[in-house]
Amino acid sequence: MTDTSNLAAKMDVDEAAIDEGLYSRQLYVLGHEAMKKMAASNVLIVGLQGLGAEIAKNVCLAGVKSVTLYDPEPVTIQDLSTQYFLRESDVGQSRAEATLPRLAELNAYVPVRLLKGLTGQEISVELIQGFQAIVLCGVSYAKQLEINDWTHANGVHFIAAETRGLFGSAFTDFGPKFTCVDPTGEQPLSGIIASIDKDKDGLVTCLDETRHGLEDGDFVTFTEVQGMEELNGCKPRKVVVRGPYTFEIGDTSNLGDYTRGGIFTQVKMPKIIEFKSLRESLTSPEFFMTDFAKFDRPATLHAGFQALSRFKSQFGRLPRPRNAEDAASLVTLAKKIDADADEKTVTALAYQATGDLAPVAAVIGGFVAQEVLKACSAKFHPMVQHLYFDSLESLPSTTPTEQDCQPIGSRYDGQIAVFGKAFQDKIANHRQFLVGSGAIGCEMLKNWSMMGLATGPDAMIHVTDLDTIEKSNLNRQFLFRAKDLGKFKSEVAAAAVAEMNPALKGHILCKQEPVGQGTESVFDDAFFASIDGVTNALDNVAARLYMDQRCILYEKPLLESGTMGTKGNMQVVIPHLTESYASSQDPPEKQTLSCTVKNFPNAITHTIEWSRQEFDAMFVKPVESVNQYLSEPNYLENSLKYSGQQHDHVEQIVSYLVTNKPLTFEECIVWARLQFEEKFSNAIKQLLRSLPKDSLTSTGQPFWSGPKRAPDPLVFNSNDFTHLSFIIAAANLHAFNYGLRGETDPAIFKKVADSVIVPEFSPKSGVKIQVNENEPVAQSTSDPDDISGLVKQLPSPSSLAGYRLTPVEFEKDDDTNHHIDFITAASNLRAMNYNIPIADRHSTKQIAGKIIPAIATTTALIVGLVCLELYKIIDGKNKLEEYKNGFINLALPFFGFSEPIAAKKNKYGTTEWTLWDRFEFKNDPTLKEFIAWFKSTHNLEISMVSQGVSMLWSSFVGKKKSDERLPMKFSKLVEHVSKKPIPPHTTHLLVEIMASDEDDEDVEVPFIIVRI
């Protein structure tokens, strides 16, 4: 990434390899196949205002062969409403030329080219030769038709898009016969089979009552079927679903007799999509719904956007902001196209026609960019064929006047045209706390800078992110460049957006603090008093839950969002109105049974999980134990408390510190070779000794059947790539533990590994306890004498003063550290044991590293939607139906909006309350006063009081403790029970109680704030 120009030149060839370091997260969304096709596609983008720039940005980040820009028109100050690649100094220059250098910085692999034109020169068929995909932004319908007629006939993919105020539109035409290779983006389903009927309509039953998840019309093929062998590797058979556990696969009557086993795997069938040309589509449009609550709107906007185009050619300009006369003209034009067009909507469109909003550009730009990638890669289902979007709900409750919406010659004119100058001032004075400055955070700051958020004299944006910039971030966190690697995200992001809009200089405060209990002195009462709302841009549930709680406590609105691959969601949390983030959580991923991982894997995910555990068990935990033994006095004595495991524990320390401690790297190789034998041969032999392949279950069925695959031990072969990979990775990691220098030359490993004398397998006696048989058993619950023998082998910690081993810290993104290499090799060797198809390093890395797939398009869109809700928060809307939660999936594509759920009402006595209510005590009351207050004021009998994880008092605590605690002030009581001092910055304690009413019924009550 250092020599940009060279790299770009080198990469501008079809066979270019894909930079997995840069594209890591996106590869997990698109896959190598799709990205290779993208790397062969030249994309032309016409019209470089905010929308065009957003599309170009996302396409550049995603990586295509080249991006070419066409827009010879001069930059105006109004363009700066949304076009974040332009600066005030660019006014007057051609838009494409001014944009190009900043766009070209985004991705060294994507050359950005200029298609020259003269001011006033529209795009033409002559200019668009040699591109695989063409995107027209804000181009007249007449021109769109001219270009589309040609592209439709010539196999070029065509997209047109436009944004007007809170409205957006997009049209796709990928030709009369477009083949989509993956219409859903979901992983192919597969499952284990219990039986297949031999029948005209062969019925397949899945094992274990596991849902097959297939739908009618899906295709499947089979492996490992016994008896009906013809099905193995058969041509994809069409599925008819009969039930959640059963489906039919057509005639199986002339096949063999099914005996047992078998796995079905879904086969993705290409889908042919017949696009209409724009000319045809304008008269018989097919609409893609963005909001099912606005069912009639697409038809109206279909007419409205065409009418706008006619208006512009007729009057030489767009309708003026909130101008009634122009609006009436537009309505007339629209009614000519579609007599049923809704007058109110068309009027709103006219009012906002000169409006230009960054959030809308982000929504449409993110969406259209994904359509470009679909056109280039055939991956995911394209949008068919017209999209119309609006967020009229974002308008302020008080309608701005015509006067208020007039342009003032500022960069915010696009926003003022929609919301008015008065609301612009509100935006400028709004103060947000952005938690996280990664993918979502970068997009958020970009939109905020365009909106002019917090540019007012006393306003401030607070950003915190503890992370530094890594290479895999550069693919979508577009405020970061290669030169920023290693710097703090929050600082680089803040500097980047302050350059986009200099009015933000000095209005962004950056921190590198994680949010959590440990930083409550930083994000304290005063801090929360200084902000108007919180926007989460987080990547983990724990921090989201924590911020949710803080927002409840301080009664701040919270904007929450997240993405996973092509899916994204956003949620609005409004104090005293909606439920909170924690109220309805997604269920976390189901975990795998430990016995499946330990003894009965049947899928590569199981062997990867095993391998990840082995990584810790070989290179982390024993090493940490050794260090603890060496550094903590009485470590062994303390660890003995955990009866049942102490023997293994001490044995491990002895092994790592004494018996197997390597002095040379060669010894590490020997160790690795013996580990291979232990893990992939001896352990399997031992298991088969206990449970031979012909074992029967208690019901007389073969033990090794269904989800249990009988394993086979491996025989080491240094010529086998996977075998040797394991040795190389394991030896290097072992060497790392001991500070020995590693090696990578395979020849050395081969030589040493082949020379190792491997002891014969001797079955373990299962009864470790026998060692102890002469001891009187009842003396103790642990076996101190047994351990003492082992302990004697250990050198005393003082004899090794200062000596420490180095535990490995798992890092998935460093390709030279052998971590993922080890996990891949170990997982695949185990897969070989169990005859499970192996996985490549790339897929193993995703599963082992729990990597969430990510792509810039989804993030841009979701963040756009978040900002459309932010307008409402700034306006102070207070009705549930005025807000929207959203869910999208760009792969299908799909948009879904819903009204936020109201905060649940609870009740004690006659008092209704929600999660937003609380009791508040001032002046640090005593426990006795506290309990008495509930009794006298609310007639509630308290049976338990807790603070944090401490149980301060309960009715069964005993008289002595009660007498001691009741007179204590809360601050004292908390310190007394938690045995920890209250941090000095603490001003209040959050207290929970259990209480019952006069009928002795348990009642739920709000939480309690005790000021101290």
Binding site: L593, K598, S643, T699
Partner: protein, 288 residues
């Protein structure tokens, strides 16, 4: 580590309930300064090789609780097909069948069930699984041996001085001796609400091999019915008196003494335990 207030309230409620009316043979210990530091103690069910043992099960709650199950493992060594040497427990309830409505009590009752109905088909300890499938006697004696060595304290944990919910009517002294305080059907599973289908919840095995079938093959059929009289003559899982008779040299004296001198339970136990352990060991070693 931060659980939501609602989750803390819920835990508080459950801990109180478990303390005030614990399920039969199950107690929960927590500490005042950290309510999340939860340890369950399961009394080895009578009639199983775990009888006489007290098994500690530790809990660790993540931020995602109760959406995600807590981490849960045996801190006491146990010989059981579904428990690994590191104490991991292989049970669907703690993994794929987890529901956010489940709590500590449900888990402990499920684990207790697992002590009664071990499931060799999802073995974590394959040695134990093999024995259970092939040689019940050996499995039993080995499990008894480990129980006596690692899980049988000199005195019963004091938590069991508080009576269980199902025996609240009996006096605390009677309740102190589990063998006596048990109702006629000693392995009646407590907390029926959370255990509407205990077998299903403990069984990771496929429906084609439902656990009750395997249980009826490996364990006395009486277990799968509600009658637990041990009428099939085998003494593996039976009511106290048949156990006392059939295995009188082992469990008999302890139980009888305890019955006779209920007030001095602890002392009796202390003296009885070594004998019990030795006897069991001798028997077990003979078979090995």
């Amino acid at each position: 580590m931060s659980l939501t207030p609602a989750t803390m309230r819920r835990l508080m409620r459950e801990l109180t309930e478990l303390r005030n009316s614990p399920p039969e043979g199950i107690r929960v210990v927590t500490s005042e300064d950290n309510m999340l530091d939860v340890t369950g103690i399961i009394e080895g069910p009578e009639g199983t090789p775990y009888a006489g043992g007290y098994f500690r099960v530790r809990f660790k709650f993540s931020e995602e609780f109760p959406a995600a199950p807590p981490k849960c493992w045996f801190a006491t060594k146990i010989f059981h097909p579904n428990v690994s040497s590191a104490g991991e427990i292989c049970v669907n309830t703690l993994k794929k069948d987890w529901k956010s409505t489940y709590g500590i009590g449900h888990i402990l009752v499920t684990v207790k069930c697992l002590l009664i109905y071990p499931n060799p088909e999802s073995a974590l300890d394959e040695e134990a699984g093999k024995l259970l499938l092939e040689d019940y006697e050996s499995y039993c004696s080995r499990a008894k041996l480990i129980t006596s060595v690692h899980a049988t304290p000199r005195t019963r944990p004091p938590e069991f001085d508080i009576p269980a919910s199902s025996s609240e009517a009996s006096t605390s002294i009677a309740a102190a001796s589990p063998a006596i305080s048990l109702p006629p059907q000693p392995i009646t599973l407590p907390v029926p609400s959370s255990l509407s289908s205990p077998r299903k919840s403990t069984s990771p095995s496929p429906p084609s091999q439902p656990l009750q079938e395997s249980a009826s093959n490996t364990l006395p059929s009486s277990l799968s019915s509600s009658s637990l009289s041990g009428k099939d003559g085998k003494d593996r899982v039976t009511s106290p008196s048949p156990l006392g008779t059939a295995d009188s040299n082992v469990a008999g004296p302890a139980n009888t003494s305890a019955a006779a001198a209920a007030a001095a339970t602890k002392a009796v136990k202390r003296s009885a335990a070594p004998g019990t352990g030795l006897e069991k060991r001798k028997k077990a070693l003979k078979r090995l």
